[in-house]
Each structure stands twice: as structure tokens, then as C-alpha cells.
Symmetry: none
Subunit: 211 residues, 4 copies
DNA sequence: GATGAATGAGGGTTCATTCAT
DNA sequence: AATGAATGAACCCTCATTCAT
């Protein structure tokens, strides 16, 4: 792969500088591939245009690298932390939601970037990236549905569909809250209200689907 | 507002030509504001570049107009058709889903355009458009929640939150089905399976939240 | 062919402007494809950068067009004027040399451009252009050798090889003279000396190879 | 001259390394000055970018040096080997052709480089290089024409012009053969055919101009 | 109203050259 | 001496917008 020709260069980068580039690029690529401007990235990362291309070759090469980085972060700091022994799916999804919130605090542009990347992928199919997403998605699903205790569900409830409703509810709620003005001063207060309300939903779902 | 300077011009347009522009532009803007190319729009609409700018002033002006048109369509062909007397919220949401499917058949690019417009709005905040979206959204919510018969819900279930779960479930399911290969030959079959499965979810939700 | 998509645009150009572009581009491309700079071309042609690309699409499209134009000029203003009935090959070559000089006066960059194009072709093979060159070359050779009166040659002289020596001599002499400081003031004087000396060579060749 | 500032540095280079640079650079500059890329040169020579510029100052400085080297090679391994005592010019030119073929075998890029350098010179006149070429050329001509036995020529033949025809014929023939597919497997066969045909031309020229 | 030629700022990419180590 | 990271000017190309006809 041509990307690999650059890979060792990237790895040899001063880590602090590399992180600046990754952050700036992820934030910019969250606009979508075409709308992202390399000028903005280098300005924000505090490096010259030439250097960016020295390391990453092309805009595409940079994008690839950022996407791979994002996938790695998802894997190492999210999927790997899921408690496989938790057999109560609502509890598991709840814990995953908390992990996700932590992660989105540490990497503010991560999920937005990945969401846009997913959309870009529909429009510009790319085998390698499709594989990435598919792998990540199937790992995620496997982990979520691994060793679920279906006996917790009320009789007559399709566990698969109920699980979907649970997942959709929590992720829709999260999305609906993203646009709330998360200003720093009242972040903690907002965050607490957010958790509180999510717990309410958890309770409703439990009452609805569990024995 | 500068848009208004153009407004009467647009209204003076030959309606058939205006519709061609609206359709072409909506389809193109479904790519997102920046990725949309005015050349493609004029080519598809069969008018000259000069004329487009004669009527709409700027790309932005065209975008504004298309967004307003989309909102009007949503209002006239969706929100206005909601049966306000239906007090069973699940039934109402179900009927709304059917309306939405009809609409998305009549205006293939409409929802995609609005989804992209909503995202663009996050990135390039614009008072006027935010107001549009907010107004449309609040009207929608008002209509959905108007005269809901809360007595249908089991005791102890927050009707507002349950309504949200219902809405989120149906819209998440819809979204999850978009990428399914909707090839023309098996469209009808797919469509039937789609309705069938959605009915399953309706049943689950009813059992979960209704007495 | 994609070039043809642009072709009608180019034909619709204001002829006087098109000629300015052709001249500027031919002169610039005489440096070789890569060394030619579109900025220089547009500056010299007195048009904007955008317009150049409006008409020709890409640097490559412009190059293609210029190459085709050059081939047409060669065909119409050189090959087509060769006197096929002239059976004395030395006389024919002599007349061709005069035609070439006229042409190189009317299109100063033409031969230099074609020479560089030929070299570029070796390095970046291109089927279409190779065909062009081959066709032009074979037409030229056919015309030169058509109806040659071999009885003019001394016995024992291979007419084909002798013809080559004649062609090579005249074209080498021409090339050797190109670098002479053809300043405008003494152009006529230089030109006369040039013709005179070339006639000397003609005489030598006649004495050498003819009965 | 600024080049001289670097000259002693270059001389201080490890000879084996210098030769690697010369070979790599000559091969690369055979593409023409602008098309040559210093990155390729340092990669092929196995030295760092910094070192190249440490020794040669600028791309131009490197080019100068390579050009001088090439001229030296031409002088030492070509011009110096011409047999001055050979008074039969056709024989002398024939021997020179053989020397040239040997040299082009030992230094594959040499003549191609010099040919491109000569063309570059037309476009970017440079006193120093022009002087180089002129000096080399005049030495070559002096050597060729030194002590020519004009009594070999038929009466009435201008020996100078006849010599030119002889030179032009052999060099044009060589050039015309360059593009022939010199694949390795049939190199020897091609080479023999080449010599054979060249001898034919020699015979023709002798018959034409010699008593 | 209607056209499309014309413009130029902006974006991705290359590459000679410099400089800290 | 030796390295290669770092820079920025220059290049090709796109596209919203204007304007003469």
C-alpha cells in the first residue's frame, strides 16, 4: 500500500507535533472530506504546508491516517473497555454510553468526524475503509450482543428488536443533546442533568421490556 | 434582507422553469452546501448560468430559497396532513411515518437535503435558518403531542418520554434501512418487508407502553 | 474522446483570441510539456487563467489541441504544397526546404514545438499522438519518394540511401544555422547568405550523386 | 565565480561518493534541467539532501558541475583519442563514430544529457556554458579538420562542405537509429546491422567525394 | 429576460533550499 | 561532515460571480 510508504515517516514525527496535526485534521475533516481545507489544518497545527505533505503525501493520505487513528481510538478506548461479562443488556448499553461520553470529552471531534466519514464513504466507496467500518461495526455488535441474558426479557418480546429499541433510544437521546449549548461554565451542571435524564430513559426501558 | 430583493424576481419566473431549478438545486445541495456546484445545477435545470444568478443573486441566495421551499413542502405536504384528532400517539406516529414515506417518494432529495442542511447549520450558524428549523421542529412536536390521550399509557410511564422513544425508534429504523439496496426491480418487495417490520416495532412499543 | 467535449467550445472562440492563445501556447510548449507554464501562456495571450481552462479543460487538453493544430498546419501548409510531379528528388527537397523556411517564418515556434513534442512522446508514450506523428511522417516520406526518377542517379548509387544523405544534409545545415543570431535588422542579408550556401550544397550533392 | 566557492568542497568529496552523485545526476539531468528532481538524485546516489546542497550549493551548481564533468569526459575520452595523424577524413570520421559508440556504452546518459543541455542552453542562454560548448565544438572541428589530405577529394569539391556532409550523414544516421528498439537480447545483432549499414554510407560518400 | 465568456481568489501539490542537530 | 525535517513560492485547476451582448 502506498500509505505505508509514508507510515514510517509519520511514526518518526515528534509526537507532540503529530498530535497537533491529528487534532487539527480531525476537527477539520469533521466538515467532510471536500470541505476540509489543508490550509486551515496547517494553520491550526502550526506547521507549514510543505511539512504536511512531506509526512502525509496527499490530502487523501492524511485523511486515511486520521481515519485509521480514529478507528484505533474507538477500538482501544471504547470497544476494548466494554465489559463482556455484563449480561444485562440495558446495563451494558448504559455503561457503553458512559464510555462514549468520556471519549467524546477527550476527543471532541472524534464522533463527528467518524459520522461524516461514514457519509463520505457512501458517496465515495472505498474498499479499504468500508472494510474498516464493517469490521469495527461487527465487533461492536458482537460485543454488545455477546452473552446476553434473554431470560430477563418479558415473555413474547423479541430480544433482538428490543435491544435495537434500547440502542436507538440512547443514541438518539445523545444526538438530541449534542446541540445544546455546552458552554464550559455550566458544563458540569448540564452533564449531570444529562445523566439524570438518561437514567430516566433506562428505567422506562427496563420497565417496558424486562420482567 | 437582501434575499427579499430577489424574491419578487423569483416569483416572476416561469413556474415550470422554477420547478426545474428547485429540483436540480435540491438534488445538488443534498451533497452539502460547499460540495454543490452551480454548474451542475444549471446544466440539470437547463438554464444558463447568468439566469440563475439573475434570479437568485448568489449561491447562498439560491440555497436560502431552496431551504425555504423545502420547509414549505414539509409544512404543506407533511405537517398540514397530520391528523390532529388522532389521540393515539402510536397510531399518529405510524401515520406520520407513512406520510413521510410518501413524501420521500414524491421528493426524492427532500429529506437528504434537509438532513445535510441541518448539519451545515451546525457548522455555519445562521440565525435565519436556525429559526426556520426551530419553528418547523416545534410545530411538528406540537402537532405530534397535541391532544394525546395519556390515559392509554400504563401508569407510571412518562408520556413525553415514551413518545420520544416511539419517535426515535421509528426514525432510527427508517435510517437504518436507507442504505439497503433499494433497486427498482425489488422495490415493492422491499417496501412491503419494510412496512411489515415496522409494524412489528409498533406492536412491541404498544405492548411496552400501553395498557 | 474527452477532448471533443471541449472542441466545440474552442471552435466558438473569437478567432483572433484563439490565435493569440495558440501562438502563446506553441511558443511556451516549445520548452517541453512540463517546463511550459500556463501562467506565461495566459499572460502572453492576454486572457485570464480561468478562461484558458474554460476552453481547454486541462493543460493536457491545451497541449493536445496545440499539437493537433501544429499537425494540421504541417499538413495544410507544407505537405499539401509539395509538388508531386517533381521527379528530380534534389529539386523536390530543395523546394521543400524553401517551403519549410517560409513556414518557420510564419510560425516561428512550430518546428521547435514539434521537435520537443516528439521527444516528449518518447518519454510519455501516448497512442493517439504516436499515431499522429506516424501518419504525418509516413505521408511526408511517401510524398518525398513518390515518382522519383532514379535514372538521374549515377549507376551503382543506392537511390534510397542517396536520398537520405540529401535530406540529412539539408536539414542538418538548416539546424546548424538556427542558432545564428537572426536579428531583425540583418535578417534579409542572413537569409540570402543562407540560401546561397544551401544552393552550394545542392550543387555538391548533384555532382556527387547525379549523372 | 560562485561555483568556485564550492569547487574545493567538491574536490574534497570521497571520490566513490562523488561518482555516485555524478552518475545519478547525469541520468536525471538527461530529462532536462527543470524536469530533473534533486530528490531522485539523492535517492539514487544514496546521500542526503543536505549533503548534496552542502557540496554543490544549488541545483544550478550541481548542473554546472555535471556539465563540466561531461565536457571533461568528452575531452578526455573522445577528443583526446582522435587520431590526428589520420589524414583521410572519411576514415577519421568513421573512427570517431566508433569512439562515440564506445563512449555511449560506457556512459549511457552522457550524450543524452549533453543533447538536452544544448537545447536548454538555447532557452536559457548562459555565457559560461555557451563558452564551454563553443570551445568543445571548435576543438572538435579543429581536430577533425586538422591535416586533412584534400588531395583525396575530387577536383571541384569544396573539402570543407564535403566534410560537413560526411559528418552530418553519419550523425543523422546515428540519431535515426536511436529509437530503434535496442532490446538486450538482440543488441549484438542490431549493433552489427548498424555498423554494416554505416559502412554502406561510408562507401557511398567515398565514391561521391573521393577520387 | 437570457446567454455564456471572462475573471481571480482559493485549494492541493511539488520542489529547491535552509537549518537545527 | 551528514541528516532530513521544515519552509514557501510556484504550479495546475475549480468555481462563484460578473458583464457585455
Amino acid at each position: 500500500m502506498s500509505e505505508d510508504l509514508e507510515a514510517h515517516k509519520i511514526m518518526a514525527m515528534e509526537p507532540e507535533k503529530r498530535d497537533r496535526v491529528i487534532n487539527a485534521a480531525m476537527k477539520e475533516f469533521a466538515k467532510g472530506y471536500k470541505d476540509a481545507c489543508t490550509d486551515t489544518i496547517v494553520r491550526e497545527a502550526g506547521i507549514s504546508k510543505g511539512l504536511l505533505f512531506h509526512y502525509f503525501g496527499t490530502k487523501d493520505g492524511l485523511y486515511s491516517f486520521i481515519l485509521k487513528s480514529a478507528c484505533e481510538v474507538i477500538y482501544n478506548e471504547y470497544l476494548a473497555l466494554i465489559d463482556l461479562k455484563q449480561s444485562d443488556i440495558i446495563e451494558k448499553v448504559w455503561q457503553m454510553t458512559l464510555l462514549k461520553m468520556d471519549l467524546s470529552y477527550k476527543h471532541p471531534a472524534l464522533f463527528e468526524f467518524l459520522a461524516k466519514a461514514y457519509v463520505d464513504l457512501q458517496e465515495n466507496p472505498n474498499e479499504e475503509f468500508t472494510a474498516f467500518f464493517e469490521k469495527t461495526r461487527s465487533i461492536a455488535i458482537d460485543k454488545v450482543l455477546a452473552d446476553i441474558d434473554t431470560s430477563l426479557f418479558k415473555d413474547g418480546v423479541d430480544p433482538q428488536k428490543a435491544a435495537n429499541i434500547i440502542l436507538w433510544t440512547l443514541s438518539s437521546y445523545s444526538t438530541s443533546q449534542i446541540n445544546t449549548s455546552m458552554r464550559m461554565e455550566d458544563y458540569q451542571k448540564e452533564y449531570d442533568r444529562y445523566l439524570e435524564e438518561m437514567k430516566d430513559y433506562i428505567e422506562i426501558l427496563k420497565k417496558a421490556f424486562y420482567k
